[in-house]
């Protein structure tokens, strides 16, 4: 699905990225770990760009992205936020609205389709953002710490939803704590300032000290 060869990148305002090689198979669900400032978001930005840097070979152009904070337009309804992509591409129709409503049902927000984005709780906003990712029918889904800022129980619910709904997609989950999604993810890669290492067994991170060792590049 994704092959990266000898990529080294820097964008203004983003931390530089070490030279990395990486490949992910279609349908894999992987975690990308790393301390702040090692270039995780730089890498995601490169994956979202069109055209991409020549070192990145991606089998699909259909990539969905879910940011750390649920990016919802507060004046639009939950439904319109889900189909924001269609609105911005000029593809809005009654059919897209139906799809959006069905997706809201699937993320557990039945009956909230007409509520304004600004009036949803943090957990509900995250669910809308997830529904928007699904709406895009992407083959590759990039999740940038989508559970950050949520309380523990909501995080568990969200991880459960992702596991259920993102079965067919290839998923890269950027996270600080892979335990949130350990029963769903298959492997983890750790990005440090020098290198990208992996795949690592997620079981190794059940212990805090092991997680810290991994983040420090010692595993």
């Amino acid at each position: 699905m994704l092959t990266i060869r000898q990529l080294d990148l820097s964008y203004p305002g983003y931390p530089p990225l070490a030279t990395i090689d990486w490949s992910i198979v279609r349908g894999q669900h992987v975690a990308l770990l790393g301390r702040s400032g090692v270039g995780k978001s730089t890498l995601l930005k490169a994956l979202l760009e069109t055209p991409k840097p020549p070192q990145i070979q991606c089998e699909t152009t259909r990539i969905a992205y879910m940011a750390q904070s649920p990016v919802l337009l507060p004046w639009l309804s939950a439904r319109d936020n889900v189909m924001l992509g269609a609105r911005l591409r000029g593809e809005r129709s009654s059919e897209t609205a139906e799809i959006a409503d069905a997706l809201l049902d699937r993320v557990g927000l039945s009956g909230l389709a007409a509520r304004a984005g600004g009036q949803l709780s943090g957990g509900q906003k995250s669910r809308v953002a997830l529904a928007r990712c699904l709406f895009e029918e992407a083959e590759l889904v990039l999740l940038d710490e989508p559970f950050a800022g949520l309380d523990r129980s909501t995080r568990i619910d969200m991880a459960e939803l992702c596991r259920e709904l993102l079965v067919d997609q290839t998923v890269i989950l950027v996270t600080h704590d892979p335990r949130d999604a350990s029963d769903w993810l298959e492997a983890a890669w750790v990005l440090s300032a020098q290198q990208l290492s992996g795949p690592l067994d997620l079981q190794a991170f059940q212990d805090d000290r092991e997680l810290i060792r991994a983040l420090d590049g010692a595993l």
């Binding site: 995601l44 979202l48 904070s69 990016v71 919802l72 004046w75 992509g85 591409r89 000029g90 990039l142």
Partner: protein
């Protein structure tokens, strides 16, 4: 209710201080008339002050509207082009750095002594805070937002009108609130330079005739008018905060 009470108390304290100064220093009324004289002239000739206040109010409101629209339009035009910003910013800054007093005679020469020259001066004062605030709104988009929008592969124009423009509106609103507090300067300076009506004209006229009480009364009315216009602007622009999505 508390706000009204606070306003009344502040006014009472100021009036007492004012009366006290006149009484202690035994000032002649043509230097500093006591509050009772000013209130009495306001009471006996309300039509005079209403007439001139309406002219000034029209100049300020029209200037705010025109400057607001103009400021917003300029910000939208240059928002996406750092190069255009580099070219236009010096001109915009100069338009603010030159005191409106210095430009007034030129504007009088071009636009005459009527409404147009006052409108131009007020617009000139108003548009820059609006442009600057709106531009900072366009720039304030967090990277998580721009990355999310990029991933949706939308059309440029649709992204602008459906996402970026509304998100910049609360910033434009705060620019307009700042502008509303300085807008009366443009109108009054314009009236001083040459006019046949307005509170600035009334002040100049009264000053020439030694009617210090009328001069002070016009000043009091101008203060009230400035507060009223600021209050209305404040109220109207608050509704833009529904487009507030991030701090």
């Amino acid at each position: 209710m508390i706000r009204v009470l606070r306003g009344l108390i502040t006014t009472a304290i100021l009036l007492t201080l004012w009366a006290g100064i006149v009484w202690i220093f035994d000032l002649p009324h043509y230097i500093l008339p006591g509050p009772e004289r000013v209130i009495s002239v306001l009471w006996t000739r309300p039509e005079l002050f209403v007439h001139h206040a309406l002219i000034t109010a029209a100049e300020i409101s029209a200037g705010l509207a025109l400057g607001g629209i103009f400021g917003l339009a300029v910000a939208c035009l240059i928002a996406d082009s750092p190069r255009l910003q580099r070219w236009t910013m010096p001109a915009l800054v100069i338009s603010q750095a030159l005191p409106v007093f210095a430009l007034a005679p030129i504007l009088m020469l071009w636009l005459g002594y009527g409404f147009a020259s006052k409108l131009a001066m007020t617009t000139l004062i108003v548009f820059f805070p609006v442009t600057a605030a709106t531009l900072s709104g366009f720039r304030a988009l967090p990277s998580s937002w721009s990355d999310t929008i990029t991933a949706l592969r939308g059309q440029r124009l649709r992204i602008f009108w459906q996402v970026r423009f509304p998100l910049a509106l609360p910033f434009a609103g705060s620019g307009l609130r700042i502008a509303a507090s300085v807008a009366p300067i443009g109108a009054v300076v314009g009236e001083w330079m040459g006019s046949a009506g307005g509170l600035g004209y009334l002040m100049l006229h009264a000053n020439g005739r030694g009617q210090t009480d009328v001069l002070f009364a016009a000043l009091v009315v101008l203060c009230g008018l400035a507060l009223l216009i600021w209050g209305i602007t404040n109220h109207l622009t608050r509704s833009l905060n529904r487009y507030q999505a991030f701090d």
